[in-house]
């Protein structure tokens, strides 16, 4: 490949200046003249039948325009990624405390909110089902899904039982070394800065137009069209620039409810959740309980791996089946197991709504698996790094689930790169440097792989439109959503590189069903790969058109910077614009992510990103507090597109992995009431918790399928840091962390019991 002009440099993000100066408009900044404001009436009990919804008193309150309920839904009263099971407005029953029963619409937000308590809902209270195991195994527990909903069993969203080889035969062999343990992971809240918002209106053409917290506007359009019983052409969705998402906004929340209100009233309606409402309603990371049994022979060759688990999916199907399958797919990690048995159930409960969260079901199992790897290495008396390397999947081998994978060779070289890190080379000095006898230091590792894209679970494509304008600049438009992850800048860099033009000759448009084509969801670490390849295809077509046209007038035609070199003269794109017929000013590229060779009972990927993480921690044995002192993250996700964005993702991933390891814990009581209602009690790390040394070291091996060799990194960077930290705690004090987070309390109480 010739030298790259933009890819791999440090490029300031397109939206950076407008964000830091407050000029950029997020959906929650949008004001429409004279718009009404909605306030939500939530379920007052977690599980109940609705007998009656009385809105009379609320309608009499000052400023109240209307109270919207299920009666106002024109089409399907439901939505959800894996089935329209979440009601827009509850009709028959409520299934968690974030369920929406009605929306008060008033002239001001204050008026709307103050009338909420005047909507009287008569309930027949049902048993609260908050224990995910009991929900499925005890058939006397109250059934949660609506009548007629197909389930995999009593209160069971789905079940998978998958085997390769025969694990029992291995476990029965008296000569094998076995590690058998339970692990538990908590609910995790995304804490995006911009809480859930929807502004809906009916425009002058009679179309429903909606701005909101969304990660896949084209799918959201389809869902809202179904709710509204409108053709898709009657619905316009603007997602644009979001104040964070981390996967949660893949599940819609209040957007369909706002659409129903605006359509009924033929008037703009704005609904904006406060932090407490957002915590209550939005999808959380799915909590798991694992029982894991892992066996190796005496030389350290992995032989068998069994994972039996239960997950709590909350009240709706939502994205749960997909997340659950993702966990299964990733349950053997980067290691080669000849025998595998994975068995899991995911339950309906009245607890928090669960859904996508950066890592999508991989974080939980990676923590359990990487803990097992350290425990098994200890039992074998082996160095845990050597043990991992010895059992790592080699390029060209199938993964343990038996499907083939493509992607970069980053994994193969990662062990040597980790051995070369300062922290690893100086690990003894690091551990000896604790300043007080009660401070204990340890180092730990984690390895992760993470499927890029949707896998063969569902269609996986992206469309990019490239348009040549009269002045010679290109606009590149795609339905991806900018949530802060940097997709606009990534598209800008890849487009400028491919087009071979000055950086300011590219304009990127995103996140809008009216002005951009369907990109697929802005999820699954897929946008760099998919949008990059789709625009590659589009620019190829555009360049073919240009060359073809120019060859009519010139003998030697070659693509050059900012135009074509034609018989020694630069013909600029502005000139080419004039030469091309109008229908050739716009081209479209559509890219399909390649599929792997096998269809298994769960979706599997062909392309993966990899990441290694090494950390050094210090545990205060008097308080149980753990500080991550040093961290070096080593993503192996192909070429670096933008060094600044890459470092931002990797450092943010480190912070998120640290939060999941040490403090994040969204809690409910047995009656499914939220205990960590807001940021006063739900702890996320701040900059003060970040390691003093926080290095990002790219392992830049080429992702063969990717644009300029780039792959997807958004998620994998937040995964291995968690087990690296818990493994470092183990190295420091001997405690195997069986339940996340490893809070000061859990660590200190373990120390007390094991003193």
């Amino acid at each position: 490949m010739s030298e790259l002009r933009y890819v791999g440099r440090k490029i300031v993000r397109d939206d950076g200046l407008t964000k830091v100066t407050g000029q950029l408009t997020y959906p929650s900044d949008l004001k429409i003249d004279d718009m009404y404001h909605g306030a939500l009436v939530f379920a007052s009990v977690p599980h109940a039948l609705i007998n009656d919804i009385n809105v009379e008193e609320a309608l009499k309150k000052p400023g109240v325009i209307d109270v919207i309920t299920w009666k106002d839904v024109p089409g399907i009263n439901g939505f959800g990624i894996c089935g329209p099971e979440q009601p827009v407005y509850c009709k028959e029953k409520v299934r968690y405390l974030g369920d929406v029963v009605a929306m008060v619409v008033a002239k001001t937000e204050r008026q709307a909110r103050s009338a909420v308590s005047k909507v009287h809902v008569d309930y027949t209270v049902l048993e609260t089902v908050s224990d995910s195991v009991k929900a499925m195994t005890d058939s006397s527990t109250e059934r949660i899904p609506l009548p007629g909903t197909e389930t995999a069993g009593h209160n069971k969203i789905s079940r998978v039982d998958y085997s390769v080889g025969n694990v029992e035969k291995i476990f029965n062999d008296p000569d094998v070394i076995v590690a058998e343990n339970d692990y538990k992971t908590p609910y995790e809240e995304h804490v995006y800065l911009e809480t859930d918002i929807a502004v809906a209106t009916v425009n002058e053409n009679g179309q429903l137009e909606l701005w909101g917290s969304l990660q896949y506007p084209h799918l959201d359009r389809t869902e809202i069209a179904h709710v509204m019983d409108l053709p898709e052409g009657q619905v316009i969705i603007h997602a644009g620039y979001q104040g964070g998402g981390f996967g949660s906004k893949h599940d819609m929340t209040i957007q369909p409810a706002a659409a129903v209100a605006a359509w009924k009233l033929k008037h703009a309606v704005r609904v904006h959740m406060n932090r407490e409402e957002s915590f209550l309603t939005s999808a959380k990371r799915v909590p798991y309980q694992f029982h894991v049994k892992t066996a190796a022979d005496k030389e350290g060759h992995l032989l068998a791996h069994e994972v039996v688990f239960t997950a709590d999916g909350g009240p709706f199907v939502a994205a749960n089946p997909a997340i659950f399958c993702f966990t299964i797919e990733h349950s053997a990690g980067v290691y080669r197991f000849p025998n595998v048995h994975i068995e899991g159930d995911i339950a309906y409960t009245n607890n928090a709504h669960c859904g996508a969260f950066r890592g999508f079901g991989c974080n939980q199992i990676c923590y359990a698996l990487e803990s097992q790897m350290d425990e098994l290495a200890a039992k074998l008396g082996m160095d845990s790094l050597d043990f991992r390397e010895m059992n790592q999947i080699r390029t060209g081998q199938p993964l343990s689930m038996t499907h083939r994978f493509g992607g970069s060779d980053g994994l193969a070289v990662s062990y040597d790169v980790v051995r070369n890190t300062n922290l690893y080379k100086n690990k003894e000095a690091f551990k000896a440097a604790a300043a007080k006898p009660y401070l204990k230091r340890g180092i730990g590792f984690g390895w992760a792989l993470q499927g890029v894209g949707m896998g063969n679970f569902c269609p996986d494509y992206c469309i990019v439109d490239v348009k040549l304008h009269e002045d010679g600049h290109f606009s590149v438009s795609t339905g991806a959503v900018e949530m802060g992850q940097g997709v606009v800048t990534t598209c800008h860099i890849l487009a400028a590189e491919k087009a071979q033009v000055s950086y300011d000759q590219i304009q990127v448009l995103v996140g809008d069903t009216d002005t951009t084509p369907d990109a697929g969801g802005t999820v699954a670490s897929r946008s760099t790969l998919t949008a990059g390849n789709a625009m590659w295809i589009a620019f190829d077509t555009m360049q073919d058109y240009a060359a073809e046209e120019l060859k009519k007038s010139y003998r030697h035609v070659a693509l050059d910077f900012d135009g074509y070199l034609c018989d020694g003269r630069l013909v600029t794109w502005a000139e080419i614009y004039k030469l091309l017929p109008p229908e050739k000013h716009t081209v479209q590229g559509k890219y399909h992510v390649p599929e792997t060779n096998k269809h298994l009972p769960f979706g599997v990927h062909y392309i993966y990103g990899y990441c290694a993480h090494i950390v050094g921690v210090e545990v205060n044995t008097l308080t149980g507090q753990t500080q991550v002192i040093e961290s070096e993250i080593l993503p192996a996700v192909g070429t670096v597109v933008n060094r600044l964005g890459y470092e931002g993702q990797a450092e943010g991933g480190t912070s998120m992995a640290l939060g999941y390891a040490l403090m994040e814990d969204f809690r409910m009581d047995q009656e499914s009431r939220v205990l960590t209602k807001n940021l006063q009690t739900y702890m996320v790390p701040t900059t003060k918790d970040m390691p003093r040394v926080c290095k990002v070291t790219p392992i830049e091996t080429i992702e063969r399928e990717g644009p300029y060799g780039a792959g997807g990194m958004g998620e994998v960077v937040c995964i291995p840091g968690t087990p690296a930290i818990t493994n470092a705690i183990r190295d420091a004090i001997g405690m195997t962390v069986r339940e996340l987070p490893a809070s000061p309390e859990k660590v200190l109480m373990w120390l007390r019991e094991n003193a």
Binding site: T686, P744, M749
Partner: protein
Amino acid sequence: MLNISKYYRVSSLEEALDLLNKETWKILGGGTDIVPQMRAGAHKDAALMDIQLLKNELGSVEMRDGDLVIGALCTHEELRHNDLVKEYMPTLADACAHVGSPQIRKRGTIAGNVINASPAGDTIPSLVAAGASARFLSVNGERLVPVEDIATRPGRTVKEDNELLTEFIIPLEGKAWKGTYDKVGVRNALQISIADCAVISHPDFGVRIACGSVGPTVKRALQSEALFAKEGMTREDFASAMAEDICPIDDVRASAAYRREVLTNLIYLHYQER
């Protein structure tokens, strides 16, 4: 959206005391506690008296008759950098450095931290341990109240509606308090303490300990203090003393057992390192 009936910014201490005597007001200093409380629905329809213009009268730190006197409106940020505080009451400077975030420290005041009457107020253990008093002024005169006696339970104080807390007096006899302030939480900033304690000593007053977030109000740990006078005390001795000194509860942030355990460990450490 704050539901207030009235907002008034007073320009002199006399005016403040006069108005406090006539009507019921909520005092607004830095607002770092009261504003979030109002957002959560508390103090509905309150009349807010903003006293920030009294900074000249209530915003200084000085030595007076050998005691350290701290004005009510001193912010945490000012106190953490104040030379007198750093020299004579270093644990208070340390506690101020641990309050919330830079934004909160630059607005929040020491009087607000005390009068909010949270058992988790970061500045309170140092003040209680040192035997500090607060001066309350009203049109009827003034009274001095030990800081330990200001809060009666979480969110409730002995302050009368017509009174204004104007300053804190920390007895020094011209000599410095030394010691440690420990704040235990799950992260390093923006943290409401799970448990905290000031363990301080003074040439004339000896060792003093006060613990926060382990009871309805911040209290001296008298049994533990007594052990510091003896040699050869064990961790078990301190565990027994703490059992009498504190009465923590289980809440969403930590269990009572953890709070007991962690404070016992820390106080025993300071005993060993004394």
